[in-house]
Amino acid sequence: MTLTLDDLKHVAETENQRLSSYQYRINICVAAGCLSCGSGELKTTLKEEVKQRGLEDRILVRGVGCMGPCSKGPLVAVQPGNIFYQGCSGADVDALLDSLDTEPVERLRCPADHPFFAKQHKLVLENCGVIDPERIEEYIAAKGYEPLYTALRTMAPEEVIEEVSRAGLRGRGGGGYPTGLKWSTVANASDRTKYVVCNADEGDPGAFMDRSVLESDPHRVLEGMAIGAYAVGANYGYIYVRAEYPLAVKRLKKAIIQAKRIGLLGENIFNSGFSFDVQVRLGAGAFVCGEETALIASIEGHPGKPRPRPPYPAASGLRGCPTLINNVETFANIAPIIRNGGDWFSRIGSAESKGTKVFALAGRVKQTGLIEVDMGTTLREIVYDIGGGIVQEGTFKAVQTGGPSGGCIPEQFLDMGVDYGSLAKVGSIMGSGGMIIMDQQSCMVDVARFFMEFCMSESCGKCVPCRVGTAQIHELLVKIIRGRGEMSDLAMIEELCGLVKDASLCGLGQTAANPVISTLRYFKDEYLAHIQEKRCVADSCAKVIITEAL
């Protein structure tokens, strides 16, 4: 028995009726951020209290995915009315319930018209914080899996690829490779067996975009993968998730079981003759396993070390078969593109980068968390409107994007719109979406050292420039921070950065020098202050310098 469109609509209708039968719906964020500050207990207490008061028919207490301002958790939203509360705990349960029929609880209130929310455009995250990620019915009620039906039953695979190409979607895993082009390369391979792989390794320090999507809206990713598999002619998929994301893994596995049970995965989906099955594979948390060839080696059971490309995975990937490998966020963009069309998508964003981008906003801004903005949104809007400005009225110094492969962007570029091209032009990269704001307290030499230490310890060790080069650069940076640097060290760092960039095998080594190169470009005075005056502009290395000098 296969699922029909009517069945799907019936599920949606039933679910919508269920939801609207409640007078109030209290949504509690149960993504990892809020869970870690006690939203799980809050949910249990609220549920019990509702039961005690005999309001179970009127009030629905449910867990939803990430709402965004993760540092203010646990977050609660009351519908209808869209009333946001932050920092709630078990002690607030009575107040929350009492307020439902009267006025909102002001002391917990987080204004929904705050620029943090108002300046965002939620496309990838449209269901995050809105639906219960553990119920497929809610995803279907939010019009989920309709695009899959549209693709499988009304479009030829080439038409799906055409739509994705027209959208102008580029890979969100870091490289920004045009997604439509990648899909058509895999589709054009004549092999019978092909694979689809979702890259959910997310190894950049501080990044949690993919984790939030998987925890908050897992079906969205599965649907994107299924559409991709149909387009390229694959029947089997893997999601490679790092084992440090147990909640994402749990919800993904649950979502796969649910989708299989009602026929949205498995044999003959929507009676189209197309079959697709997905398995979750766990990575042990090596950053380099996010590199596509290392990831494939890891799925195959080999050590996670990159191999030279070409051949690209699109030609010869998993078990030597053509393999489509895309990032979580890339797949999460597919369903809306099929639903609304490629032209619709291509009208969002900037001239050269289409759509939106999810960022993990962190560092010295007042409002940190998960945000999604149109491509081309300026850094100033992100830092000062969405982020609410620098904490303790400090002064902005730099924004770091692209993690260990990216760079630090100084103040003079605050009015620059963020897209693939503009970031590359100023010596950084889009990367997967880490965005760290730094103020006058951050020492840029230490920032460079931090990322170099990361690359050094995450290098797989296969090639000499990356294995030994990163260790040498790191040592020189430590020497400078300790106030023992000489001018010749700076020249040597520059020389080594060039070598590591030009002669390394994979993207890790080829980009490892970026944080150093970009801080040398924009903050050379800080390096010079350490070397010539044994002084740290930011005072953060002061203690080190003094104690070492004694």
Binding site: P308, P311, A315, E458, K462, C463, V464, M492, L499, S504
Partner: protein, 254 residues
């Protein structure tokens, strides 16, 4: 091992004509290559010497040491000759200034990584690393020596592993897995703390997979693997067996 594993991977497209020949340039000389051949093997045919370290004919391609880098004239990019297949019309420089400088820096990095004191090494005078330094005119290392303290494993009856001389070329790992079929050696750790280990980090002498064939010792480019009883400069290695074995396998003479 599957013989195709010895050849570098290449892009396969449907219906492609077999054994296509393509032409390109090395150092402004027109050369021709069979499809799938590496830049290194073409260069060798034309008597152009490109230095190598991790590469060894008869073992699967690896591309780790990067000593063999050559420059793509059009883009200025560096690619390793031992694993890169030329494309029609490519122009390659094997001895440009950028190439020579990069090779020298890479070699310096290798010397700085571990403890390579040639004067007291069993392989002194017969060492590929030492020879590379001579060939590339490397007289001193200007990067800081890291000098890690790594324990020597002399637990095997016949052989010794001195990780202080190891350059992580993985020739031993490959010859053991691909030719001998034992897969005794592998790498432990990653990045700068990578280390060659027998079995799951057992003393070599207690390895249950090692057949004591000695192939790893013969292919090791430095004095990291050597025969017991050899003193300074006495360890001469014999690699003739590899092409011979490969030839016999290709002809299915076992």
């Amino acid at each position: 091992m599957n013989p195709s594993a010895k050849r570098p991977p290449r892009q396969v497209t449907a219906g492609e004509p077999q054994a296509q020949v393509l032409t390109f340039k090395i150092n402004d000389i027109d050369v021709s290559a069979r499809e799938g051949e590496t830049i290194l093997s073409v260069a060798n045919r034309y008597n152009i010497t490109i230095p190598t370290l991790c590469h060894l004919d008869g073992l699967s391609p690896y591309g780790g040491c990067r000593i063999c880098v050559v420059e793509l004239k059009q883009s200025g990019k560096l690619v390793p000759a031992c694993i890169t297949c030329p494309m029609e019309g490519m122009e390659i420089l094997t001895h440009s200034q950028q190439v020579m400088e990069s090779r020298k820096k890479i070699l310096e990095l290798i010397f700085s990584e571990r403890n390579h004191v040639c004067a007291v090494c069993v392989s002194n005078g017969h060492c590929e690393l030492q020879q590379l330094a001579t060939d590339l005119g490397l007289t001193h290392v200007h990067y800081a020596y890291r000098y890690p303290h790594l324990a020597v494993d002399a637990s095997h009856h016949h052989f010794v592993l001195d990780p202080n001389r190891c350059v992580l070329c993985l020739r031993c790992v490959r010859v053991c897995a691909e030719i001998e079929g034992a897969h005794t050696w592998d790498v432990m750790g990653r990045g700068i703390s990578s280390q060659i280990v027998a079995d799951l980090n057992q003393p070599w002498g207690s390895s249950t997979t090692c057949t004591s064939c000695g192939k790893c010792v013969q292919v090791c480019p430095t004095g990291a693997l050597y025969e017991k009883g050899k003193s300074v400069a006495e360890m001469v290695k014999n690699r003739e067996f590899l092409p011979y074995l490969q030839e016999m396998r290709d002809r299915k003479h076992y």
